[in-house]
Symmetry: C2
Subunit: 332 residues, 2 copies
């Protein structure tokens, strides 16, 4: 049996292009005892994967050139040699970008596919949801009446951060890159949303949206938006440093105003994190997110691209701001 | 009765000079019920006071032009209208730079002058000691065997940070601005000390001194030393952001490499703070510092200037790196 696979053809310099990807047909080995054959249903494309395409050591090991790209996948068990996962089970795991994968049953996690659309386990009820959950609730700890700013607010993580902050009674301001996204954030319940691409003075727009200053900042983006936030922090502000998508494709070390003086005079806490820092608390996070989703307090939003051959395009679209909410590719 | 007083004559642009200070003779009012007349014995000069000389809002209110400069003072009660403070008591408080002050007894704190030299209540057993104590032990929380870097290590706070880190079993590296300071840090028990003024490549020197990477950074200085530290942080590093003396006299907003990407990929926590954030825990801190001092585990080091008229010069000397340990002025 054969499968299509997508390999890393070369490492990008700056913004990745279609040249970085190569499609190949490979043979799928027969599953042995304890293994399952998985048919891919949804593939997750995520900004953090850009980091793995470079050779530099980061918080996740680099992809190897010539090897399949590995990421979040929702799949269905189509052949099973494990009591744990009967045929028909829906699972999520970190797997090669292939139409079919053979893996140990214990390397993937079954998801309750009756409780939510399967793709949500790559978004609202998966890694991005947990990222929002721990970053906002553990690091920022917003209190009712406080002001929370989220950059990249219409992205997979940002849109959940904003909804979680509203559940906790905060005033929520999001930044995003199009009028459509801004409109969607308002629909989701954000108090204010700023189109950073069309707003001439971000600092002024933030000051108008956050007249009482900023208590919490969930940063997915970095750069000029972050600089403007630093100037408007309240005493004892908390910053969850989750991503820096504005710098991921930079070819030179980014330079900007030094933030330390601003963080010092406001006694601000800034905490860098990756969701795996909270691995031991994932069950708590999934349980709480699932509960809020069931109660209608959290909405998922996805940009779904169709077709295995469209995976690279969907990934490249992340850096053009093409997605609102979680970007996933529907494969089967 | 008259006293000399030192007023803020004008706000500095960049590095302050003697022109910013004006000496005047003023009348001292007679103390009334509940008040004491204090004779100044030691005046504290501290880098944070530079911030108060500017009009910009910071974590402490600006000094007013034409009004006396206010700072840490150790004084003796020479006339008392309060049962709380008999004549001869030694007190510490935030008071105008004057030879004599009249104040409410409850506005100052009596110190146990039999337990340590009186000036130590402005240093090791006072505000700088508490700054080191809470910043290192509450924010950085060094573990035995971890590596701690302290910038401005020979300053009033830095030298205590290093000693506290050694008490906790850490490997300690300090940066300072002269060979004499470096030699003194070694005497104090620092494992390594780097003269940042004569070392051509700070990053290389740090890497040699910290072969296992940096777990904790206590930053008094900012700028290039801090940039080099950010590049060598271990996963889950902790940074106590205490001061930025390298930037206090800057006339333009300082610019440098953006740190966020480095803090993100190491899941580093950076916490700005001022000692007053820990006001409710000062008794704990003073008790512990006094105990370690009595046990011979902590040494004070001071640069003592003599004479009330030398206060401005001692203050200006902070920005030329003239002091090793706490800079104080002996007045009487």
């Amino acid at each position: 049996m054969n499968t299509q696979t997508i390999l890393l053809a070369s490492r990008p310099q700056g913004t990745p292009t279609a040249e970085q990807f190569r499609f190949e047909t490979r043979e799928v080995p027969a599953p042995t005892a304890g293994q399952v054959l998985l048919k891919t249903r949804y593939v997750s494309v995520d900004p953090y994967m850009r980091g793995r395409m470079s050779a530099a050591k980061s918080y996740v090991a680099p992809f190897e050139v010539g090897a399949p790209i590995v990421g979040g996948i929702v799949a269905e068990v189509v052949e099973s040699h494990s009591d744990k996962l009967p045929v028909g089970s829906v699972v999520v795991g970190s797997l090669p970008w292939q139409e079919y994968n053979v893996t140990d049953a214990q390397a993937v996690n079954q998801v309750p596919a009756d409780k939510a659309p399967a793709s949500y386990f790559l978004g609202l009820l998966g890694m991005p949801g947990l990222t929002a959950y721990f970053g906002l609730l553990d690091i920022c700890q917003p209190k009712a009446g406080e002001t929370v700013v989220v950059s990249g607010a219409a992205g997979a993580v940002g849109m959940i951060v904003g909804q979680l902050a509203k559940i906790h009674g905060a005033r929520v301001i999001g930044t995003a890159g199009s009028d459509e996204k801004v409109a969607y954030l308002k629909e989701l319940g954000f108090d204010e949303a700023i189109n950073y691409k069309t707003t001439p003075d971000i600092a002024k727009a933030l000051a108008a949206a956050a007249p009482n200053g900023i208590d919490c900042y969930f940063d997915n983006v970095g750069g000029a938006i972050t600089d403007a936030v630093y100037d408007q922090l309240n005493k004892h502000a908390r910053i969850a440093l989750c991503g820096q998508i504005s710098t991921y494709n930079a070819t030179e070390a980014p330079v900007g105003p030094r933030p330390e003086g601003k963080l010092l005079k406001t006694s601000t806490k800034l905490q860098g994190f990756i969701v795996s820092d909270y691995l031991d608390r994932w069950p708590e996070g999934v349980k709480q997110l699932t509960e809020w989703y069931a109660q209608g307090k959290l909405k998922g939003e996805e940009t779904v691209t169709e077709g295995f051959d469209q995976i690279p395009a969907a990934f490249l679209g992340l850096f053009k701001g093409e997605n609102t909410g979680k970007a996933v590719v529907k494969v089967a």
